[in-house]
Symmetry: C2
Subunit: 245 residues, 2 copies
């Protein structure tokens, strides 16, 4: 057996997220079916590092797959790109240690959340950023972000209904960058709960809008209750940038 | 009567171009139907400055419309943006001199053609740039571009089958800008023939690829024959940037 590590970029707009589903087309399924070309027509299981939600994008999703064939990793990458729709691209493929697993072996991930602040939303950004045309207090947002960095129980920042109970994570970086009319929230950590970055982004925008105080963050964390945090920012503003091993 | 001047930005990906058509959805029709809200349900004729082809985008298409109502231009703009799909935005609206016509009164236009040079095409650029991953001789492309600037008969750079016979135009600017992995061709002039920017872009890429010589441009112009010029670059790389009055 041989294990390949694939790096994938995708525009998540038209898909039901990464994870294979019964009644909707997921990116995992599309990649597995494109891969079936190498495996005698039978689609293998391809494991992704992160289960990006519907509408969430990726620049550096990582996926692993166990194979028996001898094609070089680079030949696999080229052939995948011929078969994949152009909204999904293999941007890297290498041989990994046998048994490497994209999700279980990941030691960290980085995400980017984009906010567009122009009065009228650009048609070219509509699928890639959250339109927040009102004024935001960036200093307050940065103070709130700083309070979230570190090792905390992020239960308040997990989608409600999720069964995960071990909710302590280390958020290593949470920075707010102004770039023209765009606001970029960079989040990096050892792991993220379901919708964690989107709930953080929504909560930071609540703070920037004056709807909640930056100083309330320790209390929000301590509550361990989804209702203590702010709104969930829209999926289409989020991009999985890279996975760390 | 009163005349409004609208500035429109649109992602042309899903549309059959600007101009209203029988069997396909054009941007003109979508804007006219959104406008019908102000005109008793009957869609007015809205004239665009440039008839962008299917897949071509706009940052600053200009359109004119004659109206009888009293709503302020800014109220019209806001209401249009509520009714238009988010791929089409009104980014400006002002009162113009009565009888102003977006196309007949235009004195110039500027376009941008985007070329993406990354080995693997980004899923996020696939609808907005032409993927040219092979190596290009930019010096040769710039020499060819310089030979096209000025007042010339551009008949060789007009889509075949076009009935326009007065084909002399002044190309005021044709610049090639490198920006990261992207190549931007900026074209500005007093008027453009059908597909002229796309044929120029395709011809410049032929020159950059070594398939034709930069020194051949005067001969291509002199031929007054579409077959003398290079290929037509794909529509989706082109954006109408601004219209001058």
């Amino acid at each position: 057996m041989r294990t390949l590590k694939l790096t994938l970029a995708y525009d998540g707009s038209g898909y039901a997220g990464w994870q294979r589903q019964e009644n909707a087309l997921a990116i995992q399924q599309v990649v597995e079916e494109a891969f079936a070309h190498f495996t005698g027509g039978k689609a293998p299981t391809i494991s992704g590092a992160g289960r990006t939600d519907a509408g969430v994008h990726a620049l550096g999703q990582v996926a692993s797959v166990n194979v028996e064939f001898d094609h070089s990793a680079s030949a696999v990458m080229r052939a995948l790109n011929v078969r994949l729709p152009d909204a999904i691209r293999a941007v890297g493929a290498v041989d990994a240690p046998t048994g490497f697993h994209a999700r279980f072996n990941a030691t960290g991930k980085s995400y980017r959340y984009r906010i567009q602040r122009t009065p009228v939303m650009s048609p070219f950004e509509r699928l890639y950023g959250w339109h927040v045309p009102w004024s935001l207090d960036l200093d307050a947002m940065r103070a709130a972000a700083a309070a979230l960095v570190g090792r905390h129980d992020f239960a308040s920042f997990q989608a409600s209904g999720t069964k995960i109970t071990e909710t302590t994570r280390t958020l290593e970086r949470l920075e707010i960058q102004e770039s023209g009319s765009e606001l970029l929230i960079h989040a990096e950590g050892d792991g993220f709960l379901r919708q964690m970055v989107r709930i953080i982004a929504g909560t930071l925008v609540d703070v920037g809008s004056g709807q909640r105080d930056a100083a309330s963050m320790p209390g929000v964390l301590a509550a361990r209750n989804r209702e203590a945090a702010g709104k969930t920012a829209p999926a289409h503003g989020l991009t999985l940038v890279a996975v760390r091993y």
